[in-house]
């Protein structure tokens, strides 16, 4: 156990210095593995190359590049403005309506993009000018965009869900389906947070100009393909028509056709740029995955997961007690680590304990995704907040962090609800 703790400490130091997370985890894992085997470097290198090739050629993991590609195509289809308009048509005329519209538009974009940062970056460009023109409080506007962006990983398809499935060895399709209701719940809670903020400070979010009925229908009609794509991908998995890998390929092709239909992606250069964008994101993700796989082998060999099982046994901790403890640890680490690294490094450590306690790993996975998602908006490292700050440079970081606080509360309420009522996540799987 001591060895594993030293390993984690060294990894933290290397990461804080600024070494790439993937290489740092790989190096620490490799040295730790060799040391644990009595400086058997041959075994360590063999393990590393096998892990890298097996993971890099995994058919199941091809969902990652394909869903990333789907997100890139959706981004390039410039659908965000239409999504925002359709959401505005629905709730814009109410007090705080533009912020509510932002939450809905983020949920819509998230449902087909699967990326928190892309959702936040896109919506910051689209929604912020509208909210500023209606004199919305900057804190509320930037907060709702940062928080709304996190729906990108909560609403499937979501890359962190795929990564959790890899680590916990659970079915990706089941994870996606289990994420739908919590995603909707979180969207509603975020809308509730906007409502509460505006109730407290009525001047912070005035009502927007109402749209006529024909205008509203026109706005809705422009976004039906997004809904269709989401239903097609998730519905296909739910009905058992496609495997998640096939769904990702179909989704990417659907998104490409959608982008072409909307007048984008019509040149080879556009297609090429989209492909490279997706390849680069895939490469950064897989570098971290490779490193984490090697590191996980070292952690397993160090005996830490087994020791944790014994500690939990000795302390007679209940399953829910352990899950809450893991949540607290992840919330703290989530303030520093980014989502993928957190899932890959922390979850394997606790997995044997959770299996021993008979915890439903799909339910736990949804809880982990929610916790990881909170890390995107909590200080000091809130990636979504940084993205919004980059798009709106005149806003002070402190103001954005203040603005996300009601949404952090909404996240905590969602977490508590899913902890108390697991059916919110896994209920839909029983109905299947």
């Amino acid at each position: 156990m001591t060895l594993a703790i030293i390993g984690f400490a060294v990894l933290l130091v290397l990461s804080f210095i600024g070494f790439p997370l993937g290489f740092a985890t790989l190096a620490v894992g490799l040295v730790g593995f060799a040391y644990t085997r009595g400086w058997d470097w041959h075994a360590a290198f063999t393990m590393m190359s096998q892990q890298v090739v097996e993971t890099g050629s995994s058919y199941g993991l091809s969902v990652i590049p394909l869903f990333v590609l789907m997100g890139v195509f959706i981004y390039r289809s410039h659908i965000s403005e239409d999504l925002y308009r359709a959401s505005y048509a629905m709730v814009g005329r109410f007090r705080g309506g533009l912020a509510q519209s932002t939450v809905l538009a983020c949920a819509g974009f998230a449902a087909v993009s699967g990326s928190s940062l892309a959702t936040a970056a896109t919506m910051a460009k689209v929604a912020m000018p509208h909210m500023r023109s209606y004199r919305y409080d900057d804190s509320l506007s930037s907060g709702v965009i940062s928080a709304g962006g996190t729906l990108g990983i909560m609403i499937p398809p979501s890359v962190p869900m795929v990564i959790y499935s890899l680590v916990a060895q659970v079915d990706v399709g089941q994870m996606f389906i289990a994420g739908v209701v919590p995603g909707i719940l979180l969207t509603l809670l975020f809308m509730g947070a906007v409502y509460a903020s505006v109730l407290r400070n009525p001047g912070s979010g005035p009502a927007g100009k109402p749209m006529s009925r024909p205008e509203r229908w026109q706005a809705y009609l422009r976004v039906w393909p997004v809904l269709a794509l989401f239903v097609f991908v998730l519905g296909g998995i739910y009905a058992g028509a496609f495997t998640p890998t096939e769904a990702s390929g179909m989704g990417a092709m659907g998104a490409a056709l959608f982008a072409i239909w909307r007048g984008h992606l019509r040149s080879l250069r556009d297609l090429y740029a989209s492909l490279i964008e997706a390849c680069k994101t895939t490469a950064t993700l897989f570098t971290v995955i490779f490193g984490a796989q090697v590191f996980a082998n070292f952690i397993n060999l160090s005996g830490l997961p087994g020791d944790l099982v014994n500690i939990v046994d000795d302390m007679h901790l209940s399953a829910i007690g352990v899950v809450v403890a893991v949540c607290i640890i992840n919330i703290i680490l989530g303030m520093i680590f980014e989502s993928v690294g957190l899932l890959l490094l922390v979850v394997p450590v606790f997995l044997p304990t959770l299996i021993q306690l008979d915890v439903d790993l799909i339910w736990f996975g949804i809880i982990m995704i929610l916790v990881v998602e909170m890390g995107l908006i909590t200080p000091p490292i809130g990636m979504n907040v940084f993205v919004v700050k980059t798009v709106i440079p005149d806003l002070a970081l402190g103001r954005i962090f203040r603005g996300v606080m009601p949404f952090v509360v909404a996240d905590i309420i969602a977490l508590a609800l899913i902890l108390i009522i697991p059916a919110i996540a896994v209920g839909v799987l029983v109905l299947r």
């Binding site: 190359s49 890298v52 590049p65 890139v72 981004y75 892309a118 492909l275 490279i276 390849c279």
Partner: protein, 181 residues
């Protein structure tokens, strides 16, 4: 001359990664449509996708590593930069080159191992050594690319990002950071 070779190599890697991903998407699509529309799917799709994954990932990593576009924790960046900017920059670059070269070397060694064993894939009977070998060769090109970038920029690898960006049509529209989950 070196600059032209650098950009050309980067473009070849980009073409390899992008084409592999495009084929992966098309293959999956055609496979599913064939299955439901014509009761006929493509034989060995999963295995072909496995080989394409290697090309997509390792050509992509070559790109990302050469411009130090990896996921990092930036919490203490400004603090460290203030005190030991050069030490940190070179430590990160040399560490990355070292790790990348190590992976490359062992991928090639793994490929040679599999080649001597003569192992083949179960469905399409393709040689398995091709996977680590392709990963190794692409990574070796990536290491060379990174060394060149290091020499060109004196360790400021992020300066080569514009050269490695294929998106001349829409610069600054997105970055791969935007699509990180």
């Amino acid at each position: 001359m070196l600059d032209r070779i650098f950009v050309l190599t980067a473009r070849v890697l980009a073409a390899v990664a992008g084409t592999a991903l495009l084929v992966m998407m098309s293959l999956t699509f055609v496979d599913v449509v064939g299955r439901y529309g014509f009761h006929k799917s493509i034989f060995g799709t999963a295995e072909i996708v496995e080989y394409l994954m290697i090309l997509t990932i390792f050509a992509g990593i070559a790109f990302v590593t050469a411009s130090n576009d990896h996921i990092t924790i930036t919490m203490f960046d400004s603090w460290i930069e203030r005190f030991v900017p050069n030490v940190r920059r070179w430590a990160v670059v040399l560490f990355s080159i070292g790790c990348y070269a190590l992976i490359t070397w062992h991928l090639l060694a793994h490929g040679i191992d599999l080649w001597s064993n003569g192992m083949r894939s179960p469905v399409l009977d393709l040689p398995l050594w091709v996977m680590p070998a392709a990963g190794g060769v692409l990574s070796a090109i990536g290491v060379l690319l990174m060394l060149t970038a290091t020499g060109k920029t004196r360790g400021y690898l992020e300066r080569v990002r514009p050269e490695l960006s294929p998106d001349e049509a829409a610069p600054n529209e997105t970055s791969n950071r935007d699509f990180a989950p």
